[in-house]
């Protein structure tokens, strides 16, 4: 291999043809209310952990729903389980339950 001084970038596209949605479907089956998220960001805005780290609950669970599992488990570990997000969610999603569910499902990732 020759070093040309530049690299071929990996696509950062979410490819729903390639992503395996099995785990994602399991999460949704156990907690269908997660589907009702309207992406308002209240959870992230009120998040204790998110104020200290780049943890973004909305983004992580959306990625999980798209089959992008890489790093999701580690991200969810940043959650302090304080439950503020659950108080503010306009859709009444059991967000703390989502954190626990994703950790349980994606422990291997």
């Amino acid at each position: 291999m020759i070093n040309f001084g530049f690299t071929i970038n990996k696509p950062r596209t979410i490819d729903l043809n390639r992503n395996n949605l099995n785990k994602s479907n399991e999460v949704i089956r156990e907690m269908p209310e997660l589907q009702t998220c309207i992406g308002c960001g209240s959870c992230t805005a009120s998040c204790t952990a998110g104020n200290l780290t780049d943890f973004n609950f909305r983004k992580v669970h959306t990625l999980v729903r798209r089959g992008e599992y890489q790093g999701a488990y580690e991200e969810m570990n940043k959650c302090m389980l304080c439950g503020k997000c659950r108080l503010v969610c306009p859709r009444g999603i059991n967000t703390r339950g989502v954190v626990m569910l994703i950790k349980r499902k994606l422990g291997d990732f």
Partner: protein, 336 residues
């Protein structure tokens, strides 16, 4: 007996004609097409209650038949309009005491958004095409097979400067959710994705329907506009969008793409402005006298508006407009 001409036999025009007739006013209802019913005639079910569109139309037809005061003339267009006289494209002119313009809107031509390949790729269809398929109970791909993954794209020809349609067509969000539910009812195993910019659930029962689509029917919602459609090697359609909630580009293959086409003002509105002295808004829709107390009146005394001629409206609003315009006409005729 006073005589009013109602131009346009869609739901607003039909309602207005029926209401006027019941007030002992003679009505001539002009319809361009061969039958009344307007756009609703092509629709299968109406949101958010899934009421068959036919039910609304037969109700209106029944109401119109309650008196003998309505003459319906189909297959004719009005060319020039004054409060006293309407000239038809046939050259014939009809005298009257007032006119209600209820010519509605035009469905956005999806061919114009070339990047979506409507008319080029077989399984790219519009929301109107899908309603037609529902009516025939035959929602299938061009080759006859069952779609397993369907994407529905919001705002096609709405909120889009590139095609000179800056306004929101208002009904497409709700239609997209309604059609997603109907598709899931028909094919429970299929995946249905809504690609939206904003979800505008403004009416009673709409938000509840949206939530039901998410929770009960497992309809997926991705916040992002599809940027282009191309064919895949397996004959599916590849769509590209940004998943704006994760901030990453997204692509997927789908079997069918439904374009939620918006409401465009009629081209004819320009000649209403030029030839009849009526005022248009920047969007091309006609300008009512004001937006609150005189919203079914035009800038010319004796010419009234009903329905989507003044702005995108849903069926219920068009029906209300028809009734309101009838009341305003009657008031005005009494004053003469």
């Amino acid at each position: 007996m006073k005589h009013v001409i109602v131009i346009g036999g869609g739901v607003a025009g039909m309602q207005c004609a029926a209401e006027l007739a019941m007030q002992d006013i003679k009505v001539t209802l002009l319809e361009k097409k061969s039958d009344t019913g307007g756009k609703v005639r092509g629709w299968h079910k109406l949101f958010p209650t899934f009421t068959p569109a036919d039910e609304v139309l037969s109700g209106l037809r029944h109401k119109m038949a309650l008196t003998q005061n309505i003459t319906t003339k189909t297959g004719c267009e009005a060319t020039t309009i004054t409060p006293q006289k309407v000239t038809l494209s046939t050259g014939e002119s009809i005298n009257c005491d007032a006119v209600v313009v209820a010519t509605g809107y035009t469905l956005f031509d999806a061919h114009i958004k070339e990047e979506y390949g409507y008319g080029i790729y077989d399984n790219v269809i519009t929301s109107a095409d899908l309603e037609e398929m529902f009516n025939k109970d035959d929602v299938r791909m061009k080759d006859g097979s069952t779609p397993r993954r369907i994407a529905i794209l919001h705002c096609v020809g709405s909120r889009d400067e590139k095609v000179c349609q800056r306004h929101c067509s208002k009904v497409c969000c709700v239609t997209g959710v309604k059609q997603a539910i109907e598709l899931k009812q028909m094919y429970p195993a299929a995946d249905v994705f809504n690609f939206y910019m904003d979800i505008r659930m403004f009416g009673p029962g709409y938000e509840e329907m949206y939530r039901e689509a998410q929770q009960k029917y497992n309809v997926h919602f991705v916040r992002g506009r599809i940027s282009e459609v191309s064919p895949n090697i397996d004959n599916r359609l590849q769509i590209k969008a940004e998943d704006t909630l994760t901030g990453r580009p997204l692509k997927m293959g789908v079997d069918m793409l439904v374009l939620l086409i918006g409401m465009k003002s009629n081209d004819h509105n320009a000649s209403l402005k030029a030839d009849c002295g009526l005022q248009c808004q920047n969007s091309g829709f006609m300008q009512p006298k004001d937006s609150f107390l005189h919203n079914t009146e035009s800038n010319i005394e004796g010419i009234f508006y009903a329905g989507a001629i003044t702005a995108p409206k849903n069926v219920a609003e068009a029906l209300n407009d028809g009734a309101t315009a009838a009341l305003r006409v009657k008031d005005w005729l009494n004053k003469q």
